[in-house]
Symmetry: C2
Subunit: 304 residues, 2 copies
């Protein structure tokens, strides 16, 4: 790990006290990077909702302190990162807001960004800086054991600060993600939400749907589905294995963009189905070719 | 390779002369297994449509003979396997049928089986045995260089002979696939076609569609799609990279089952979209959970 994540020489830690609200796949990965590098925070306090997770984080030794009460966890922290499902931000935000240190930076790792501005923005008192972030990295696994220090390396992290946000606070969060190995991008929340709707949220909605469609098939065929799951279906089930609470919250908090992309997609699926019905070979081939084009673009960008 | 694909000791080759019509991913993988094991055929003759592929097969040295004319290729062969897109079976079948050796076994590797019975069945003279097969293995790559001898190991191969087919002929094709490392299953063509529609054809149709939906987005967003392709979308583009001609033919030759599954899927996608619109958290979570259930089934069956 030391070879992959070298400590930047002579760099002071970015933060004195970093508070992670939530220690799942993403939160525990941040904790692991911070621990491996040493130049992200002098100390890490981790909050988790369940005693079992708190205990597991203690066993793993990936935080300096664990704290069951989020309001206590944020006290004295110069940076607080929400690493919980986006649907819980409003409630946890209200619980912690009165205890934030003046000058504290509040950030997050959620997959929807308009909802963060909506849910956390009004809670921030003057002098507290909100810098929403979305590290575009993940696996289908969840929980504190699923994290690893290399998760963010070479992946994009999108920051969506509102205009007028303190540039020094934005730079500190940007530097945090650089030290995690990410490539930084800045977007406005609405553009972010539209992009992730097509590249991530809709693919997940589709994967969940096809798996439940298969589950609905008659008992005989269902068994065969499991038996003969070809590579196409296997990839869908891998996507569909992701955390249900997290994805429920993402869907509900990116409703407009997701429904727009779903509408475009189903129009296109119906058009392709119609071409199959009427034997329009050229149309079908053209659509397949366009899919390959996207793939080639990913390969050229080394994202494939 | 020898360690993975040991020659069955003292077994005589199954066939004297095995003819592969088409030497793409699947055809060239069969040739490689046969070459590695030695107990599948005494000699292999390979036919390909283009001079470039024929020359490449010659260079690779994976067949004993290469032959540009399919009618010549099948002459004297005791087994002929169609390894070309299913849309070309009728034409190539008509070209080769008069030259099939009496007693020859004709098989194939296509992803649709009703169409094989429809297209090849009427062409088979008395004494020629049709044993359609579908090895459920593949990658997103195509062509003679894409094949490898281990492709079929541990994967299902479905045989769909019609009632009354010579049991000895069926057993020979079954044994061919056993020697390729596959697990054998017998199904009627209609059941086969319905199962593959949900486990393979619909997932591919969906993957092609979402990639072309993304391609249709405005120039700015499209660039962002490529830049920020998260893991969800990346898996879809991998599926969508498959061979266009092959998939066009599969869709057109499994029309009824594919359209039925597409209809079921879009109903379910609309229902999930409606739940997102109306904030029905329980419904969303239930659908996500069902997707995970299918995934667990695959893991239990070691197909994940």
């Amino acid at each position: 790990m030391a070879a992959d994540l070298p400590r930047a020489s002579n760099e002071a830690p970015l933060f004195d006290r970093l508070c992670l609200l939530g220690v799942g796949l993403i939160g525990s990965s941040i904790a692991r990077v911070a621990q491996a590098r040493g130049d992200i925070a002098r100390s890490i306090v981790a909050h988790a909702k369940t005693p079992a997770t708190l205990e597991r984080v203690r066993e793993l030794g990936i935080a300096d302190e664990v704290e069951a009460d989020p309001a206590k966890a944020v006290q004295g922290a110069d940076a607080v990162i929400f690493c919980i499902p986006v649907g819980a931000y409003a409630e946890v935000g209200a619980a912690v807001a009165p205890y934030l240190k003046p000058g504290a930076i509040v950030s997050d790792v959620g997959s929807t960004k308009g909802s963060v501005v909506r849910d956390l923005g009004p809670l921030m008192s003057k002098g507290v800086h909100l810098v929403p972030a979305h590290p575009m990295a993940g696996t289908e696994f969840s929980g504190p054991d699923a994290g690893f220090a290399e998760l963010f390396q070479g992946r994009y992290c999108i920051l969506t600060p509102l205009p007028g946000t303190d540039p020094a606070a934005v730079e500190k969060i940007a530097e945090l993600w650089r030290r995690c190995g990410s490539m930084l991008e800045m977007l406005d929340p609405a553009t972010h939400d539209k992009i992730v709707a097509i590249v991530s949220h809709l693919p997940h909605l589709i994967a969940f749907t096809i798996c439940s469609t298969a589950d609905d098939l008659a008992e005989e065929t269902k068994e065969a589905v499991l038996k003969f799951a070809a590579s196409g279906f296997r990839d869908f089930t891998r996507i569909a294995a992701s955390d249900p609470t997290m994805w429920r919250d993402i869907f509900l908090n990116n409703r407009e963009a997701l429904l727009e992309m779903l509408a475009r997609f189903t129009e296109d699926a119906h058009a392709l189905g119609r071409a199959v019905r009427w034997g329009q070979a050229d149309y079908i081939e053209d659509r397949i070719q366009r899919g390959r084009k996207i793939r080639r673009g990913l390969i050229e960008r080394k994202q494939a």
